[in-house]
Symmetry: D2
Subunit: 452 residues, 4 copies
């Protein structure tokens, strides 16, 4: 028997709090889970700094990746029971696509690194290209296993993840506006944070999915379940993912890494700072093997080292990150943006290096969008299929979805040390603090008399 | 206003998946949560290697500690509403005890370190004495905050944790056979693992607790809720905490640290190995500050370093730990114990250093015990209070509890490399493997012809 | 001690699947629950014919009424802890209002009868005026108990329910667009039907409520929790309360009662039909005592009697109702409405009495509305209170709510015997059936060639 | 295509709060659900008078029956995937048995009547023999549908329910100490009462079931899940099913029916009492058609009639039942049983007819029992199957189960009017009340000085 279709004699399960069981019936899947590259995801939190606000959000990209696999498996099962293809080109489900779908689902996040987005921003790495590398390069266990299925199998799996795989059903399962990835993270993040916004009726959504020639559509009688999912996603962004305090921790992290990089580039610090596993990244010269050694704990370990490093910006930022002392923030908008230079100046006057102690941070998300061919990366729209086969784009028939469709939600915030807003404290800096706070009202920057 | 009774003008909450909200109304509690010593608990998993089997078990000692605080707060509330003291010595609840109870609840685990039990075993540290140090030494933020309540307040909090505090109600809230600690960890571990064994009816248990002169008793009409809790605890030990695979990872960890310590003591490795933050522990000469720098991520970081270290035992064990390749096990008992030397010898013959690749591991727990004054550490028994005030020890009136009372449950296992049981593989070592496996039947060592 | 403030020495609880425990600490509340008028609510289903579609929806108005009481109790507790009045007119919470609020919450539905809306329609009863009667007339146990609190207490409770009580906070707790009644029924109906649409974050909504001079407002940081509640309510109407099949059962019930009333008015049936407990209603001459004898089971009992009654319309409709054979439906709109006469005529031709076997049924709901003084019954709008005290009406700051605000949702349907659409059956009526179905496409009436 | 294997082109689902969806893929099952005999189960509460204590327990035998069907369906699926038969006599699962298993599961309770056990006791009916009749007699829709599958199919289904069907796997699915019936009612009753005692890990129990030659066994690694189920069942009996107050309502019901029957037998009441649908039962001469007309609502309707009947025992008992005023109780045992005559005499002296106002009520259950061929109805024991195929009876390897195995749990209680224990009331009967209460201590009868 070849490796590809090698089914286990008895299904193996992983206990999961969200899906109850993750069910595996291919040896390939078990072997992929057991690779060092995949096991490494256990050491990377799914939500980064979010657990500084929602303390239960301690789950890893490992558990999420298993969840995406499981939802994909359930979609394949449903398609195979209810919509099996009869002849090529009939737009129904071809179960030969199952294994590539499952592998892509499992591996879609395998290139993620420690504190992903912040790290990428500072060190110019790209988790998507690394995902591709991990799958394609013969040096990884992942590639070696995938290659046993068929020589071209790694390339197939990679093409699903980067949307170039020819079968749109497989691509949309893993990546679309309502895919296994988003469905798992909403449910899992809601479960672990203890919020309810992310909950939606997964069983019903899965039940109303159906394959068609151009991908996946949703039965008209399940429109409200899809609507509920879109609203849930919108609310998770508003309430959890964009939380200003969690972004305040992200800003600290970003400034901390930026300071370390700056110091490393100074001759007198170069030698003494030397964070062994980060050096290739400071040097802009890293291998995949270097990348795969990083995880949240490695970064935190260097932050612990830096607590004692003789640079007050570095050791203070390290302490703020480890002891959870985020920068504080106020909202601003184009009309109040011109207050920022003066607020930065006041922060400097109060003794803070404004380069490291102030920041602007945006968080915006497009909760849902109908297809717009002129967009930079046009999104696959959600299609509702009527009983006579007619397709309607979701926002065209749902008032709720139309209300949030195509509109960016989020805000733009100015971050600064919390101490700046402590006007009660009668210190030497009190007048500066008071002037600083005259710019702020109701959590937002207000136009200032001086600037008007 | 003094610090001690400084209540917040509006309750502050932390969202929690198990208790929905953790409610805080004292500034002291908020300040303790914000200390570096307490924040460090975010970086230490509550269940150590258990997440290698139940992958959802990624929660930290931080979230658990908040949970213990919250349950204690709820007990105090219930006692204050229903059983407030009228006069000294009436055995009812004195709400002046609330703050010491809450602080002890929050801090009871603060001395825990990375991979606690294994680490303690190898490096001879003791988390209980460190908890006491953190609370008592003026160098910690925790002590500084507690001291602001009253100069003797740190000592009071510490005495609750080590059971010498005079009020038995406060002590039993935090530490007894049915305390806030156990109640939180059962619910939280069940929630995160996705198992249901740990679930019991917390609201009802809390409702039937009542203070009396010698501590805390349970109303007779709530006996079954307490019974259910005992059975849940028994089953979590059987099914989750004693899981043989998770113990197989613990064995790998233990051997890995043991090997590193051994190498460090060799002159030619001393210099090259040098895991900066662990050196004080290798040297048996560490400060509290050294201890507080450790966490799971720090240890994992050194394991990543060791992947490349030129000692095949060290780098292989590091890889096994990081990539989740536990040692395998079989049960044995006194009558089959004499097979172990030969099985160890065969493991050596197959090329493994038996000192590092075989181990014996016991896991035993006493699910419940009535008071036994002759025991090494006699346990506070659970008292059921009848409507006429009479007390009955739980196991004397519950068949279910009597069935598991005073009986150790658990097993003794022999661990070895999984490869030893791979008899299908036709390798050079196949005959050795076959001989090794002739000692094993149905997951346990069987008496061997040679030894009979 | 007077009766009014007579608190129980120990809180009494009722186990509840939605709120875990219903907590009672006033003797008055216990006594009201024990009245025959309140116990009767156990025999009236909360959702009438909905259980014919969502079979779990078997819960009664009794459990819902306890739930409304419990949510009201929790609101009072929160208000008393966080917003206790300091001086008259400060717009904060006066806890002397607690008992009237609790009693009104408990009793708000006490006038509901069997299959309420349908029954009222046929027999011209009015559950609101009966609620008032039960509270006000000295012949009821409910009135006798309320009168013991104070002679004017029944009138106070009644005035809360009919919105004339002077304190707007108390009125809005029980009756507004986000009140204890709606919050309980959404959660309870979701729990029992097993749908998730009705779920929202009750704990958070309660936490962000605050009293102010003109009623109850919601803290700005809780806006999304309120938004989520509005969306949940919208979806429960769409998916559960307006379900076309459940309305098909309601139509059968309505026609059945209408036929019985018609027959009773015929001399030759008058004597033989005689449904003892319904006669006062057939005669348009009933007392409160007559009304309180009715419940779902009484009506069903007469339907069982009528299975054998020698009128084919009556016995067939009774059988349809008891054996769950709803009329079928299609949507129509003003442009297709003119097909109805011909479709009714075809139904007659197929042998059905169109008066009893066809019907038009509308279901429309206003999910949320800002205050419109010109409306027939203007609604209290939901106010979001900013940190500087400013009030914003919800839909003015929520895109989601604006999307469904002020718009009626629902549909208009034509009901007919399911047999009419059974075109596969080659019967004598087949041509009629085929002609009938030529009017229908995709679940709606389509404009017909004949009519164009 | 014949009717038997007529699978639906697309699965039909019923939304269920316990199992999420009930999935149906046979037309036969849909048709059985639509019969009047099965729909009637909607009007019979699963737990009778239990909802007087746990008010959420309002669910019907209809929803339970669907649940038993669904669990059976899941067992068949698991067996077919993992243990399909290869050749006759191999002890594995033959999927041709699926339809008979599903039908038997769905119909196993179809003979239940209103307030089943109490009614049977008074009127000498037997729901098991009626179940058989409904399935076997050509006058029912149920039989007509089953007969279309095959002429001998009704007899097969009936034989599964009465344990004479030759395939022990099918019989044990529906009826054994761990069957689909018990599993559904534990979960459903726990869900609706809001208690947690009945919860156990259904998914895991189903996963570890396997067919073998003599029926169904459980994999050794799932032993704790089975143990947990047994303990849950034990606790539901203790806490919910045997609740003394709910039994106090049952006693009222029993006495009420007994009084009505007595009066009916008196010439002067015969005519006036005349409860139309009950007459055949009063006359000991009823048909199946008579039986199928009864439900909870019909009985309650007559109780409402009787509120006005001029017999003070009858109208008072009716009022007690409808307004939830149960008889009160105390425990007794063989050593205190001799106090009963005097307590009954005192009740008479206080003006109550002791025949109708006092009662003895036993509730005993055998939580689990190993097979005992000498028992009146020997039970199928639960077999745990080891990895080498060896079977162990559950209680032989589980301390917990052994603790409650073969031991009857429950109690024996004496019921009397609550007024008898109201010693605070200074009435004419006060001395009698006081004497009565001198027999009672701590909720049980105590040996009385007079009797010693």
């Amino acid at each position: 028997m070849t490796y590809a279709p090698q089914k286990l004699t008895r299904e193996k399960v992983f206990r999961d709090p969200v899906h109850n069981y993750i069910r595996v019936d291919y040896q390939v899947i078990l072997d992929l889970i057991d690779t060092p590259e995949f096991q490494r995801l256990r050491r990377i939190k799914q939500l980064g700094t979010t657990s500084s606000v929602f303390q239960g959000a301690e789950h890893s990209r490992f558990t999420h990746s298993l969840g995406v696999y499981e939802i994909t498996r359930q979609i394949c099962d449903q398609f195979q029971i209810n919509y099996p293809t009869k002849q090529p080109g009939d737009g129904l489900w071809n179960d030969n696509e199952r294994l590539v779908a499952l592998c892509a689902a499992l591996l879609h996040d395998i290139g993620h690194g420690a504190y992903s987005h912040t790290f990428e921003h500072i060190f110019d790495t790209d988790h998507e290209s690394i995902t591709r590398q991990i799958i394609m390069t013969p040096e990884t266990k992942v590639n070696q296993i995938l290659s046993q299925v068929a020589p071209d199998f790694p390339a197939k799996v990679a093409s699903v993840i980067d949307h170039t795989y020819p079968n749109p059903q497989v691509v949309q399962m893993i990546s679309s506006q309502i895919d296994a990835d988003r469905m798992d993270y909403l449910l899992r993040d809601a479960y672990n944070t203890g919020t309810k916004y992310g909950e939606f009726d997964l069983t019903r959504v899965l039940r109303v999915m159906r394959p068609y020639a151009n991908g996946i559509a949703f039965l008209a009688n399940g429109m409200h379940a899809v609507e509920d999912y879109i609203v849930s996603r919108f609310q998770m962004y508003q309430q959890v993912y964009f939380h200003p305090v969690s972004r305040g921790m992200e800003v600290v992290l970003q400034k901390l890494l930026q300071r370390a990089k700056f110091l490393y580039e100074q001759p007198d610090h170069h030698q003494s700072l030397a964070p062994q596993l980060l050096i290739p990244f400071f040097e802009h010269d890293f291998t995949l093997r270097d990348y795969l050694k990083l995880d949240d704990g490695v970064l935190n370990t260097y932050f612990i080292y830096w607590l004692d490093y003789p640079d007050t910006v570095l050791n203070d930022l390290a302490d703020r990150f480890l002891s959870r002392r985020p920068l504080k923030s106020v909202k601003f908008n184009p009309s109040t943006e011109d207050c920022l230079p003066e607020m930065r100046a006041l922060t400097e006057q109060a003794g803070y290096n404004a380069t490291y102690y102030t920041a602007v941070n945006n968080s915006f998300d497009l909760p849902y969008d109908a297809y717009d061919p002129s967009a930079k990366s046009p999104k696959t729209q959600i299609e509702i299929i009527q009983s006579d086969g007619q397709l309607n784009e979701l926002s065209s028939i749902s008032n709720l979805v139309a209300a949030i469709s195509g509109k960016f939600s989020g805000d733009e915030r100015f971050y600064f040390p919390k101490e700046m807003s402590d006007t009660a404290n009668l210190e030497v800096f009190a007048p500066i603090y008071q002037q600083f706070n005259s710019y702020i009202n109701n959590g937002a920057i207000q136009a200032h008399p001086h600037n008007q």
